[in-house]
Amino acid sequence: MTRRTRTRSAAIAVVAAVALTACGGGSDSSSAGGGSSEPVMGGDLTIARAADAISMDKTTTFDNNSIYVMQQMMQPLFTVSEDGSTVEPLLATGYEVSEDQLTYTITLRDDVTFSNGDPLTAEDVKFSLDENTATGADGWGFVNAAIDTVEAVDDQTVSITVKYPWAPLIADLSIFANAIIPADYDGQTAEQFYEAPVGTGPFVWDEWQRGQYLTLTANDSYWGENGPYLDSVTWTVVPDANTRKLQLQGGQIDIDDTPDWSSFESLSTTPGVTATAFPSTRMDYIAFNQQVEPFQDVHVRRAIAFAIDRESMVDAVLYGNGEPANSLLSPGTPYYDESVEGPTFDLDAARDEMAQSSVPDGFSTSLLIASGDPNQASVAQIMQSQLAELGIDMEIRQLEPTANKQARLASDFDMTISAWTMDIPDPDQWTSFAVDPEGGSHSAFTYWDDPAVIELNQQAQREIDEGTRQDLYTQIQEQAGESAFLAYLYYSPYAYAMTDAVQGFQVTPLGNYPLAEVYKTE
């Protein structure tokens, strides 16, 4: 069993253990601290994080702090499983696909109500999906680009037709932007509605003091069987990591949403505090701009990819809490293939590749990073010393974070550090962004153009059969690795620290954390 499989199995086992615990199984759980088996009703949960939410408009918000809040109130038809590998029905009971793969018939649960008491019907589904599709450029509408029509067949049945066979459809329907809200915004304007959104979720809107705190309270008429156990959830804004840590240790908050990796060890050994690293879909990588000499030369890219000591980066940046990345996809993403061999740290192979390249004696280049980011600075310094072994003189170029984003968007860099986290439990959102120039970003701003891989990606989008789809994505991962159009760095988990009283807190590999089954012991 490879280390990755073991980690994944361990994660699944832990998740299963906690799920059993929450159902009263009484088995020991190591992930959320303590082994209490009966959910305790009541209690207020306080989560501190570095920045505030921006908006509750589910179709135009790209900011995680907003998304994780709105997901407690508004739910989609399907949702990602706890281990990220599949999509499960949530407001739907299931679906059927027509023979020509162009029509999906989705049946809804008949026991779901919105928090205002109204029952969920197919009309609400049609309204919500159409709302997202209509957003266009400034929102998540692009996720619904394959959808042709959405019809309410009867109160409990929705029919969706697509323009072409589209494998990611059900995963697309699980994104928060496609969450179901009351038709016609419950009689309000869109703006009024999103001031205090109404949904089917376990929590309802309470209060938002911008820059300070945002509070939701329990939905007493929640349709779900389990939860909500908490009375309320409050997210506070605490920009400094040290302050969050001290607040956690002092009991002023229950959960610290991003403890520094440097404090992770000491937090896990602090009495009364549990630190957990949840598997994520995040992949950090170096992008090579193939418009700049000599990065159009595959040997140069491979040489650099072989020269990177990923383990020492994991130690320096993540304090050991992560793994070197082997593939374009990350372990929490469906169709990730752990057997794909991406370049690993091998200086001999690197020198070999350099010898075969167009610049065997080395060259000068630069790495663009964001200023004020100590992780990127560490990675850059490690790379600098390693590339020097190949005769590559790498300058570190720092730009203010937003200026850095601008430079990346304009492909104004030689090499740059970046990362991706999945928003949808399907590889297509990322693979199309990364390998297909039609994906809008010139292949993650690298200008990589490999017709064979582009073709594979387009086939994979349309392939409904899971076995065949896996084959296609395996090929894509292999070829992307061989071409080294990106040099993969590492997979890093989501770090969370919480008091021992918090039970049942789980984070999916997409980063969101449904709170219905969370409770606090005393």
Partner: protein, 319 residues
């Protein structure tokens, strides 16, 4: 005295071009920065096409000068525009942040006076002796210690160990605000005190050596009553302007304290707006800060005038 305050309305009028100038400089400087709001709003999903389309929608592709004129036009109607990031009136965001920063600064000012006046008096009463050296050592330390370190130390000692104060935050009721703001205000006060103490100490020593104090002493005045009735008002004059300058600087300089103590004031609003390229908010905060500095300058002169009957800033003979 009110006769001598005639200068206030004139100074207010004179400050309008200054404030106006600040808005022009900030507006054009901020638009020179690479990056734009759409880029930040779209997160990792940003592509050149989507960014361009969103910017178009946000009205950011208009010529700069037109955008500036629109900003001025709104300003005249006391409308600070719409925050691009939050899609809410900037006036709302600023109105939330200003009282927080003002109360933090006022609190810090009071605490710094509470620290500075007695310490300066103690030092000045025995120049060159042990207590003077101790006070001067304290001012050196205060100037040398970085604000965020002092803040974290106070949190650790008074917040976590002694559990006497909360660790960061702002609270919900006015009473809670006083409680939550104590540690950040104290941190700022410790940062502000050294210059105040030194100035006050120096001017106190000078005043203590003056004739009128000698006369008062010969009549039996001593200790605190002597200080309060005969010394303080005279010694305070140069210190008042130092405090004024400090306060003006602190409005922007309180950012580090705001971050460490999670106080949602103007500093945080400004920095977040800069990262997000939320132009209307950046301009509005710059405007507010400029106004604040101007007002503090005028207030400093008002305090002068109140303390010292010889001062007449409205007089035309003043050079």
């Amino acid at each position: 005295m009110f006769d001598r305050l005639r200068f206030v309305p004139i100074r207010l009028l004179q400050s309008i071009p200054v404030v106006f100038g600040v808005t022009i400089v900030v507006f054009f400087m901020v638009h020179l920065l690479p990056g734009n709001p759409a880029l930040v709003l779209l997160g990792q999903s940003a592509t050149p096409e989507r960014v361009a389309a969103l910017n178009e929608q946000l009205g950011l592709n208009e010529p700069l000068f037109d955008q500036y004129l629109r900003f001025l036009g709104n300003l005249v109607q006391l409308d600070l525009g719409q925050s691009i990031t939050y899609q809410r009136p900037v006036t709302e965001l600023v109105a939330d942040a200003v009282p927080i920063t003002l109360s933090l600064l006022a609190y810090a000012l009071v605490l710094s006076l509470v620290i500075s006046i007695p310490l300066a008096a103690v030092a000045a009463s025995a120049p060159g002796r042990v207590r003077d050296a101790a006070v001067r050592a304290f001012t050196l330390l205060g100037q040398g210690m970085p604000q965020f370190w002092v803040g974290i130390m106070l949190i650790l000692l008074l917040g976590v160990k002694a559990q006497a104060f909360p660790v960061g935050g702002y609270g919900k009721t006015p009473g809670e605000h006083l409680y939550y703001l104590f540690l950040p205000a104290l941190t700022l006060a410790i940062a502000m005190s050294p210059t105040t103490i030194r100035s006050l100490r120096a001017s106190t020593i000078a005043v203590l050596g003056s004739d009128h104090v000698g006369t008062a002493r010969s009549k039996g005045a001593a200790g605190v009553p002597l200080f309060r009735q005969h010394v303080l008002r005279n010694a305070a004059i140069p210190t008042v302007s130092i405090i004024g300058v400090n306060l003006g600087y602190l409005v922007g300089g309180s950012l580090v304290i705001e971050k460490v103590f999670a106080v949602p004031g103007l500093g945080s609003l400004m920095v977040n707006a800069i990262f997000a390229r939320d132009f209307p908010t950046i301009q509005a905060v710059a405007l507010v800060v400029a106004l604040f500095v101007v007002v503090v300058g005028i207030l400093t002169d008002v305090v002068y005038t109140a303390i010292d009957p010889r001062v007449d800033l409205a007089s035309k003979e003043r050079a």
